[in-house]
Symmetry: C2
Subunit: 138 residues, 2 copies
DNA sequence: CTCCTGATGAAAATTGTTTTCATTATAAAG
DNA sequence: CTTTATAATGAAAACAATTTTCATCAGGAG
């Protein structure tokens, strides 16, 4: 459970530890799939009913700044957030339940070198994301 | 110039060929970088001043349905559209000017197989996108 | 406990996109 | 070259998602 670690990190960055933030952090940290701000809002209100949607946005913004969560791009939309991977990792998402798994794949450099040569671009960054069905959903 | 080809394709799909559509199609087909609906609107109005933004949205929607253009995901947002690649291709974008280039990279199967084995997911699809600086922007 | 100030939630404002609808213009038929 | 049916248009309204404003509240340093 990374919720406590995130809350500590927020405090260490000079932010206050409030009930609202705790409710948001606990939902996002515990989720195995990416959640939209509205989903976080709905889920977190179970623990803290007078949470405002604005606070969800503000908390997600801070967590993203601190690289504790990251935005996930999907065919259906790009507003959802997920616990961030450690260092440079790639994402694998279940198309049915959304369950996310990170993986490493650093044998890609030769491909990038060849693309750089062919195109003349100086390659700086890459995004690799896989979609499939998790074991439970197959 | 793919504009004429797209217009023909629209007609063949039973759509009418109008001044508004022509203006939109000519801008998008001629662009080397992804454009947002608003950018298309501004650029296309040079040729057809009483173009409506709604028509831009509607035309982009049809072009996307016909796989002539595709949505491009970028750190700054995911609303921009670009001439679609042929078959399964990957994108390389210039971080400065946005110029886009497609490339193939089908040596990825072994990586996917190994990920599938490690994670238990049945992999169905992948997105690979590179960012860098084009020759002119370096 | 007190006080300062960051954080909050409600409401308003803003932005991006979609829907509605009366009018216009394309393209097929005569 | 008309006539005509209807797809397409643009303006305005509706809608949805996100951000800003602001008066009030609560965390935590002292």
């Amino acid at each position: 459970m990374s919720a406590e670690r995130w809350l500590t990190a927020l405090q260490e960055n000079g932010y206050r530890l409030t009930e609202s933030r705790r409710a948001v952090v606990e939902i996002v940290a515990a989720s195995a799939r990416a959640l939209t701000p509205l989903e976080v809002f709905d889920l977190a209100r179970a623990a803290h009913p007078d949470l405002g949607l604005v606070t969800v946005y503000r908390t997600l913004e801070k967590l993203e700044e601190m690289h504790l969560i990251q935005r996930v791009h999907q065919p259906g939309g790009c507003q959802a957030f997920l616990t961030a991977g450690q260092g440079h990792q790639h994402l694998l998402l279940c198309q049915k339940c959304g369950r996310a798994v990170f993986f490493e794949g650093d044998d890609l450099q030769p491909l990038f070198d060849s693309i750089a040569e062919k195109t003349g671009y100086a390659i700086q960054e890459h995004w690799l994301q896989l979609f499939g069905l998790c074991r439970a959903c197959q």
